[in-house]
Every structure is written in C-alpha cells, then in structure tokens.
Assembly symmetry: C2
Homo-oligomer: 164 residues x 2
C-alpha cells in the first residue's frame, strides 16, 4: 500500500482483503491494451466473495463512450442477477471511477467501491467529486482506494509510453 | 417556458428550437410508464437536426441500473455512427440528467444537453453538480433547461400518483 492523494484504507488488513480481486481486475486491464483501449479493468464481487463479472475498458473497441469497465461489469452482474439492485456487491476497479461510473455504483446500490490508482483528471470517487459518499444522494458506498495502485499506474504508463 | 431553478435559456427563441425534439422525448417518456419505469425519455439530435436515436428509461424492464434513457440513446447513436465521438450532437431529455448520464454526455463529446424538468434530488447538470460545464473536464456541453418542463413534470406526477 502506498500513501495516495485520496481516501486511505482505514487499516492495511482491510485493503489487503481486496488484493486478490484487484489482481483479477489488473489482468482484465491488460486485455484492454491489446485492442488499443486505455488499460482499465474491473471485477464485481458478490457478498460471498466470488467474482460475478469481469471486464475491461472497451471504448475504442466498441465505439461506445459509455463502455467503461465499471459500466460493463455492473450491467453483466445485473443481467445475471435479474435485478438492478446489487446490494452487498463490491466494485473492484484498477483506476478511480469517473462520475459516470461512480454514479452507476450508487444507482446499483453497491456496498463498496475499491480502486487502485487515483484519477486526478476525471475521478468521481474522491479527486474531482466524491459521488459514492455524497450525503444528498439516496445511497452511499464504502470507498477503499490505493489497492495495488502501483501496478495499475504501471499499466497506464506503459500504454501511454507505447503510444507516443 | 417557465422560470425554473436551474440554468435559464438565454432567450426563448433558442429554447423554442428544441420544443419539437422535446415533444418526441416526452412521447418516449410516456412509453416508459407502460412497463412500470419512471417516465423519462430522451432523443439524440444530429448536427443536421434529425433524430438519430430515441429511447426511454428501462431500469425496471431490463433490470439494469444503468438503463437510463440518456445512456441508451448515446449508446444507440454511437453504434449507428460507428464512433464514440458524437461531436455536434444534442441530447434532449425530459428530466435533468443524473451525474452518470451527464458524464456520459461529456465523454461522448456532445455539443449540447437540453432538458425539461430539474431534478433537485439527483441532478448532475445544475442541481447537485454541473458536470457538463465543469472546467476541469476535457469537454464542455452547452446547457439549456426548462424546455417543455411542465409536460415532463406532469408525466412524473401522474406516474407517482398512480403508484400510491
């Protein structure tokens, strides 16, 4: 765990619990880069701890501006569960969700959002806005940041250095 | 045009230009109520003025928390255009977009967001946040509010009074 600008894990044991699903999200992120998409990956973890959806950013591949990793796993899990209510579920994503994805987490009633690297340019879960914890909205998500953040940043740095 | 809490049209002639597509969005909104969804409708208008996508809120019908009218028309139009960049397009929606949908408009590089009724509980385009005009983000959308707002509010009021 690194000290990051963003919400800190309250104790490292909590964050360490999310290391394994975050590694699955990082593996997804690597797949995005293979089709020219910014390498961001996400998994959705059910209350029992198993991963019910895994996907990665597909904006370029699909030509759809809303095809962020987080949106795709929330939609997959809703379809599988047959309900838009995903209470008790945890979104694990390699990079801080943008306002679109952060609000999707609130609408889906997720219990928790866990992310790796902060996004100082468009982050909606601490950096520019803190939508999952906005007291004016009708649901709040617990927020844990900085899990395997160095690995997430490395994927992004490698991707952008290759594009230059 | 009514005076509303929210961004005002700069002159009524500008807003009146959006009355016809807003009526199409209102017709979509009425369809949502038929399957138990909150009646919110949207259309996406291409630079030439023709409607390239029309849809309504399908959260309950689809069991997907992200199936807001705005998300559906942005995704439809992207698929049709074969690109996530929808420059010059205008999103016309009966109710103020939430932060999820407002950010989707920014990501899709929409030129303009036109809405009817304000959403004081979860609005992301004036009421709680003003995401389409956040100077920190990499794109801004023009914002026009209050177009056919009374009709949008009437649909919502009828829907909720029937559910009580």
């Amino acid at each position: 765990m690194r000290s990051l600008p963003g919400p800190e894990c309250r104790r490292s044991a909590v964050a360490d619990d999310w290391s394994d699903p975050m590694k699955a999200a990082l593996a997804e992120a690597a797949l995005a880069a293979e089709h020219g998409d910014v390498p961001i990956g996400a998994v959705l973890v059910a209350p029992g701890g198993h991963i019910v959806a895994a996907d990665h950013n597909r904006r370029e591949e699909s030509g759809d501006a809303t095809a962020h990793a987080e949106m795709l796993v929330i939609r997959q899990a809703s379809t599988a569960a047959g309900s838009w209510r995903l209470e008790g579920h945890t979104l694990v994503v390699t990079v801080e969700p943008c306002p679109m994805c952060a609000m999707a987490a609130v609408w889906a009633r997720l219990e928790r959002v866990v992310y790796g690297a902060a996004d100082l340019e468009a982050g909606g879960a601490w950096s520019l806005y803190n939508i999952p914890q906005d007291q004016r909205l009708n649901h709040r998500c617990e927020l844990i940041a900085g899990v395997e953040a160095a690995a997430a940043r490395r994927l992004l740095a490698d991707f952008f250095s290759r594009r230059r």
